[in-house]
């Protein structure tokens, strides 16, 4: 291989070398950091909720008719609503609950094992009605569901009765690490209320506050005149087409209210909206950047080929075949790109340090940097292939002309 001559010719074209090296290095630094940000955000976007998101509809019913200020009437309305919703073909389960998947709101409290002075554990808290577990697609993996009597009592349970709760695996494991949480007691941090764990649900994630994987569910209902009633409907198939029918079903029960229906997927997309925008922006910046850099390498290599027509002609006249010419230019470019890649790896870590220190973000993983480096190597070679092939087609006769 002609490393020596190539290296010496590079020294004679310092401007071009510096330009390509700088371009490749900066591009690699940017691409690696973009990739890092994209992978972090993608991981966040891909996080499963543990619910049957694709088949869920969230319904908000806000009464405005003064009749419905009577709690008894409102309670009847909820029962009628549930029956009407369940009667719509394609509906699998219905629940009245304040828990709304993929909404960054809710209710939270903190709990501990009663009688201890352990750090209280922050958790989400919500009320469950008989349809909730079925509606969320959240099976009880250990213990049991609430009994009918427990559901009936709800918040009106006698004060001396120990109230049952169903908790998520994450909460159970933190309070009772040995895995024997069923039948054990938990209490609100100030011990004002005590509960017994009767069941455990497995995976749970809702993006509310710090308590996102922990939840404590008590039997009860959340509807009220000023708060409205919230329903979760789980469908058998695509939930979108059912929205008009469900709305009609509710309004035929009572018109004295406002009804708003959304698929949970809409809520999830809205929740992820800004992160998805970030990923799309970074994708666009990265693609355009690679395009600009590739064009730059094509341009610079083309000029270096055009500048050296006579040298190529001389080499061809002295017996070098076309492959040797292609190899020369590819090797030359490979060397320059390699300098750029090495420098770029350093720059990538430098830039990442800056971003982590002054902005926010995660540290770069070596795999991400390696991926970026390989990609740029390939792009550098690919971009110089065209000009190199053109150079190889320079006829040997050109060496003898124009002297």
């Amino acid at each position: 291989m002609e490393f020596g001559p190539i290296f010496r010719s590079l020294l004679r074209n310092r401007a071009r070398v510096i330009l390509i090296v700088a371009e490749v290095a900066l591009t690699l630094a940017i691409v690696a950091n973009c990739l890092g940000l994209i992978l972090d955000t993608r991981a966040k976007l891909a996080r499963p909720s543990g619910f049957d998101d694709e088949h869920l509809i969230a319904i908000y019913s806000n009464p405005f008719d003064d009749r419905l200020r009577d709690p008894k009437l409102l309670n009847q309305l909820v029962d009628q609503d549930r029956r009407a919703l369940a009667a719509v073909a394609g509906v699998r389960a219905v629940s009245e609950t304040g828990l709304r998947p993929w909404e960054s709101s809710g209710s939270r409290t903190s709990v501990r094992v009663p009688g201890t002075h352990d750090e209280p554990v922050p958790t989400q808290a919500a009320q469950a009605d008989p349809g909730l577990f079925d509606a969320l697609g959240l099976p009880i993996v250990q213990g049991r569901d609430f009994t009918e009597a427990e559901y009936d009592h709800g918040a009106d349970a006698p004060a001396d009765e120990v109230q049952p709760v169903v908790v998520s695996r994450a909460l159970a494991d933190q309070l009772y690490p040995s895995g024997d949480a069923i039948g054990k007691a938990i209490a609100i941090a100030d011990e004002s209320e005590r509960f017994t764990i009767v069941g455990i649900v497995d995976r749970f994630y809702n993006p509310f506050g710090e308590a996102s994987e922990k939840i404590m569910l008590s039997p009860g209902r959340s509807a009220g005149f000023d708060f409205g009633a919230h329903y979760l409907v789980r469908t058998q198939g695509n939930p979108g087409p059912l929205l008009p029918q469900l709305e009609k079903a509710l309004l035929s029960v009572d018109k004295g209210r406002l009804v708003r229906l959304r698929t949970v997927i809409e809520d999830r997309d809205e929740y992820h909206g800004r992160d998805r925008l970030l990923v799309a922006s970074l994708d666009a910046v990265m693609a355009l950047l690679v395009l600009v850099t590739a064009l730059g390498i094509v341009g610079l290599t083309s000029f270096s080929v055009a500048e050296r027509q006579r040298q190529i002609g001389t080499r061809r006249a002295l017996g070098a075949d076309r492959l040797a010419i292609v190899r020369h230019f590819l090797l030359e470019n490979w060397m320059v790109t390699s300098f750029g890649v090495v420098l770029g790896v350093l720059l990538a870590y430098g830039l990442n340090f800056g971003i982590v220190t002054w902005v926010a973000g995660a540290k770069l993983s070596p795999a991400t940097v390696a991926t970026g480096a390989l990609a740029l190597w390939a792009i550098g070679l690919g971009a110089s292939l065209g000009p190199a092939l053109r150079g190889s087609r320079v006829p040997p006769a050109i060496a003898t002309r124009n002297v």
Binding site: A15, R16, L19, I20, A22, E23, L26, T27, A29, I30, N33, L37, N62, F64, D66, R108, T109, S110, E119, P120, V121, P122, A189, D190, S192, E210, D226, F227, L258, R260, G273, R274, R276, L277, L278, S281, L282, A284, V285, L288, L289, L291, V292, T293, L295, G296, G299, L300, S302, F303, A306, E307, L351, G354, I355, W358, V359, A360, G361, N402
Partner: protein
Amino acid sequence: MLLYNLRLAWKSVRRYPVLSALILLGIALGVGVSTTFITAYHVLARDPVPGKSESLYYVRMNSWGAADDPFLRTRTPPPLITWRDALELLKSRIPVRGTATFGARLTVFPPGGASPLRQRGRLVTTDFFPMFAAPFRYGGPWSREADAQGATVTVISSALNDRLFGGADSVGRTIRVEKAELRIVGVLAPWRPRVRAYAPLSDPLAAPEALFLPLALTASMEMRPAEMQMDWRNPAPGEEKLPYASRLMINEVLFMELWAELPDAAAVRAYKSFLNAYVAEQKKLGRFPHPADVRVTSLLDLLDEWKVVPPQTKALAAISLLFLVVAALNLIGLFLGKFLARASTVGVRRALGASRWMIFAQHLVECELMGLAGGCLGVLLSLAGLAVLNRVYGDGPDGVPFFQLDLPMLLAAVALSLLAGAIAGLYPAWRICAIPPARHLKSQ
């Protein structure tokens, strides 16, 4: 001379159309990408209430109960304050203006019996409007007396006015909101502040509410806060039978934002000592069990503390600036190639008496011309980019786009493209004018 150089530049563009198009595209992409993301950052980070934000202060105090609960982080003040504290502190005459607010969801009944609407509303005192520079189209804020008497009045957004009254001057008309008949005293002009500065805790990038009501209506209209509420106290026996709004008022529920307009440092100090005196007094009544911790934070510091501008926006702006650097490097190469390709013409001009300086100027003019043209194209690209961002972030209900290219950013974009042209052109122009003319004349 400039005209002559411009003509030469135009000729050179026409001679190398493909290369010139590549150069143009390179500048346009660099300027377009960086302008888009720097504008996005600039818009989000911009002072939300220009000219006023220095004198707006947010009030926090540690009113947590005695229970030492790390989840509630009782060692630092909560981000919101209680009704009773807010109302008591509003009485102070140290601030020039002051307001206490919370958000609510309201059912609005359009006149004429159309089906009701669910709208976001906010309960405020009249000082809210001048403090946060809310622009009025018709009418104005209600009076301080209206605040004191709990008058049934309201200020509505321009979007709601369009929807209910077709954009006509609706001042003096009455709409039903929940159970109350409210008289409209003011209609806002389209209003889309970058940050909902008065409520930075709950969805700060959302558009302002559709209705503003006097805070004094909270009890009579049985308002229920729709944004964050924190409650650490267990209800007293029988309390649960009371309407929700009454419970809020006697309770320790944290749900209000309290803002004070303090003109200078002396006023801030005076206000702080007033707050400390208030806490000391409350301690005698058995409240505020923790050490007094009173915070009076300026609006800009608060936005910083609560990271209202997503930090990724800053990273994107930095990355897009680097993009411009790569684009400029790329241009150096392209200009270098283009200029050296016609070195022989330069040789002829030099031999005919053109000075080095003239050659240098000629090439720099060409670079700047390309820079400017590419910059214009780049501004168009960034308008398209911002339109895409606006579609995701959502225009305000008033139809005011969230991200807009303002004059300073437009000038910055033009300056950036000229700078890119100059930086990219300097070295190639110098190289070409440094070539001795004889070498190129010989090979003719």
